[in-house]
């Protein structure tokens, strides 16, 4: 793991990282990865992953919700009336 790998991950995870944290993370990652690397030794060839998935969808029926619109609007960091304000995208 090198600084540039940390930078790639930070880009993917949308995290702005200062230089000193990137340095520290290189060391911390090697410690953690060294520990989790023991999984490489486990024999799992015979495991067939067939999770017991089932459909947990519900019918699309009208039910009363407790959400009230204003309590959600109030959480917006930036708003214009009832609109959520974001930076220009295009």
């Amino acid at each position: 793991m090198e600084i540039k790998d940390i930078e790639t991950l930070a880009e993917l995870a949308r995290l702005d990282l200062p230089a000193e944290e990137k340095d520290a993370l290189v060391g911390e990652f090697s410690g953690i990865l060294e520990y989790v690397d023991i999984v490489r030794g486990a024999d799992v060839d015979d495991v067939k992953l067939a999770p017991e998935h089932y459909n947990a969808w519900r019918e699309d029926e009208y039910t009363e919700r407790v959400f009230d619109r204003e309590s959600i609007l109030q959480q917006f960091p930036d708003r214009d009336g009832d609109f959520l304000k974001v930076k220009k995208i295009l």
């Binding site: 995290l15 990652f29 999984v39 407790v66 959480q75």
Partner: protein, 475 residues
């Protein structure tokens, strides 16, 4: 003067019913304890201003005969459990101003029962930690020794209960986050079978592992709280339908459950000698009480913590992608939209959260996905299978709850792996979905609490409570 130190839910219920004191008196007694003790312990982040109004409502239930055991019981909830109209911040700066817009199912059920929610408690940020030191709102101190950690991530709830600032408390578990602080604060903590309690309205860390989990000063209190908050919930797609629960329970529960398996090989190294001696002494007590102790081997369980530190960050990096500074929570301005995301996420998430997001991004990234995530998922299946196999032979699996004694504040903060190792015995229960209970077993020479853990088969939570009550008599 209410003796909060020796109070139980049933005693409080009887006292209110008999008119010895009111729900308001009881809430006031705990509020007084909070007033006196919270400054030095920092268990509560906020005491809700409607606590006494809730108590008055509970009193009405006693008057009109609808009171149940939880009515009027003052409790605290971890800061990642939504309570409509109140802040739920997951002890993160990124949610410092986040007001819950709905009730979690756990809170909904507590409200229906007339419980009094006094406030919200400190935790490791987004439940990421084993010491409550990663909170954005300061560390919580262990009431048994203020220079030491209370455990984590539900350390605030543990410390609040241990210092009699609530009669019971709720935490959440992803990997030991209730059992480990129970061990460090001399409490009973149960991680129920996965999806016994709905995860609806719980700020997610690792969805396949998370579970609301109660703390009690005794087994019966924890049992009463769990009964109150558990049950099928259509708002949680992984909630188990009652007919399935009953079927599995009928298969796994036996009339007599007296065989305890001990996987000695898992903890012969790395366990504090005093913890080990204490564990052996507790096992001896079970033996003397007529339980059969059997050596068992769980060869794949030695991988459990490593597997956890792959699966959990993978789920963390996915879950925490929703916090972007746009719709709610902490937000910083930037030159464009992506810059707003990056700056808000850097400014809002603490160091441990950032580390786990990056680790999760790594184990899920192209080229590493197979070696880490897919491999971990397969080992997880192996661990579950070997535990199911073990439960054909024994009724319980026992280990120490934590391999170490409560450590000093700051001691493990610079070494993530040594912090992670506190939860080494916790991981199998979360990975397999099985229930596990932590029971207090006395104190070290230096006066620090110790604990024993029992795991049972799926939906045998009741067997753990029964065993715990037995231990309260024989210990």
């Amino acid at each position: 003067m209410i003796d909060t130190k020796n109070l139980t839910i049933e005693k409080a219920h009887e006292a209110i019913k008999n008119g010895e004191y009111t729900c308001r008196d009881l809430a006031l007694a705990y509020l007084k304890n909070i007033e006196e003790k919270n400054k030095e312990i920092n268990a509560y982040l906020e005491v809700f201003d409607d606590a006494l109004a809730q108590a008055d409502k509970a009193q009405e239930m006693f008057k009109n005969g609808t009171a149940v055991l939880m009515t009027g019981i003052p409790l605290a909830i971890k800061d990642n459990i939504l309570f409509k109209g109140h802040i739920a911040s997951a002890s993160s700066k990124i949610l410092e101003n986040h007001v819950a817009t709905y009730d979690s199912t756990a809170v909904k059920k507590l409200k229906q029962a007339g419980a009094v929610i006094l406030g919200r408690t400190n935790m490791d940020e987004f439940a990421m930690g084993s010491s409550t030191e990663t909170s954005a709102y300061g560390v919580t101190h262990n009431p048994y020794d203020l220079t030491r950690v209370p455990g984590g991530s539900s350390g605030g709830s543990a410390a609040a209960l241990a210092a009699d600032m609530a009669l019971v408390t709720l935490g959440t578990e992803t990997c030991g986050s209730v059992r480990e602080p129970s061990a460090f604060c001399n409490l009973v903590g149960i991680k129920p079978t996965y999806d016994t309690c709905s995860r609806h309205g719980i700020i997610a860390m690792g969805n396949s592992l998370d579970q609301v989990s109660p703390f009690g000063k005794n087994v019966r209190d924890a049992e009463i709280v769990l009964e109150c908050i558990s049950g099928y919930d259509k708002e949680d797609a992984t909630s188990t339908p009652p007919q399935v629960v009953e079927k599995v329970k009928a298969k796994n529960m036996k009339p007599e459950m007296k065989k305890i398996g001990v996987p000695w090989h898992l903890f012969k190294e790395g366990t504090d000698p005093e913890v080990m001696e204490n564990f052996k002494a507790s096992i001896e007590k079970f033996k003397n009480a007529g339980y059969e102790i059997v050596d068992i081997e769980l060869p794949y369980s030695k991988y459990s913590l490593a597997v956890y530190y792959i699966i959990m960050p993978a789920e963390v990096s996915t879950n925490l992608s929703r916090f972007d500074g746009i719709r709610y929570g902490f937000s910083t301005s930037g030159k464009d939209l992506v810059d707003v995301y990056k700056k808000s996420r850097y400014g809002g998430f603490g160091k441990e959260a950032r580390r786990r997001i990056l680790l999760g991004t790594y184990v899920l990234s192209q080229g590493f996905h197979d070696a880490y995530y897919n491999k971990a998922v397969k080992i997880r299946e192996k661990i579950k299978q070997e535990m199911l196999e073990a439960f054909k032979q024994v009724d319980f699996i026992s280990t120490p709850t934590v391999p170490v004694l409560p450590f000093k504040l700051g001691e493990k903060m610079s070494d993530p792996v040594s912090m992670y190792l506190c939860d080494i015995f916790s991981a199998p229960a979360n990975l397999s979905g099985m229930p596990a209970i932590a029971l207090p077993t006395g104190f070290s020479k230096t006066g620090l609490p110790m604990s024993i853990q029992f795991t049972a088969n799926h939906f045998c939570d009741q067997a753990l409570f029964d065993l715990g009550k037995k231990f309260e008599i024989i210990k």
